[in-house]
Amino acid sequence: FDHSKAHFYRYDEQVSLCLERQSSSSSSGKDKSKLTLQQKFVRCSARAEVRHLRRVLCHRLSVEKSQVQMLFNNESLPDHMTMKQLWLSHWFGKAQPLVLHYTIKDKRTR
């Protein structure tokens, strides 16, 4: 068959994620809802990396990249970790979706 498109990310295995906001006590109610994803269920290529997810989150929530941190079990995830690595190391044997947390740091406290 046509191998020229076989490498497209869209044809990769997909991972199903649930992105929950880990809120800080300092955020006010208004900020909290503005900085929380309304569509928290996400599907993407297993080759997508944590940094890609962060970038997309920044765009969705209109914040700067440095404000977003991705966490699993309260531990910060390395930027270059792929979703597949994450799945195999932290979620193998469990049902979809993989639950990740994110925090939005206050711009002023950077």
Partner: protein, 131 residues
């Protein structure tokens, strides 16, 4: 369509939904093309609260592919992402029944109420909000 495909080369697509996403299976349905990502038509119909007949009549451009359940099971169970015993529980490994599949596309994503966020190599979001 070729140009469109070319544009989408090396673009990461992120599908966002406020409801749990339907299971997606990376399956090769024909020898003429590589693996693609599919949803079960039955899952889609349930979510849309629509009959198969209405779906096929309304969305004539959305192709429905078929695969034997045994072959579907064989391929799906090879995935390390389907490592939970519950995920493929409803499927019969030896069944000769045919399953209907629909390929994930921007149209289907929008139909299901999700939105797409795309990221190109320069890290710029290239297209958004199709819902």
């Amino acid at each position: 369509p070729d140009e469109e495909e070319e544009e989408q080369r090396e673009v990461f697509e992120f599908e966002f939904s406020d409801r749990p996403l339907l299971p997606c299976y990376n399956i090769q349905v024909s020898l003429s093309q590589g693996p693609r990502n599919w949803l079960l038509l039955s899952d889609v119909l349930k979510r849309l609260k629509m009959s198969a007949r209405t779906f096929r009549a309304t969305y004539t451009n959305i192709e429905v592919a078929t695969i034997a359940e045994a072959e579907f099971y064989k391929q799906a169970s090879l995935s390390q992402l389907f490592s939970s015993p519950d995920e493929l529980e409803g499927f019969l490994p030896d069944s000769k029944e045919l399953l209907d599949l629909v390929e994930i596309s921007s149209e289907l994503v929008a139909l299901l109420g999700s939105s797409l966020e795309c990221l190109d190599d320069s890290w710029d979001p290239v297209a958004t909000a199709r819902s």
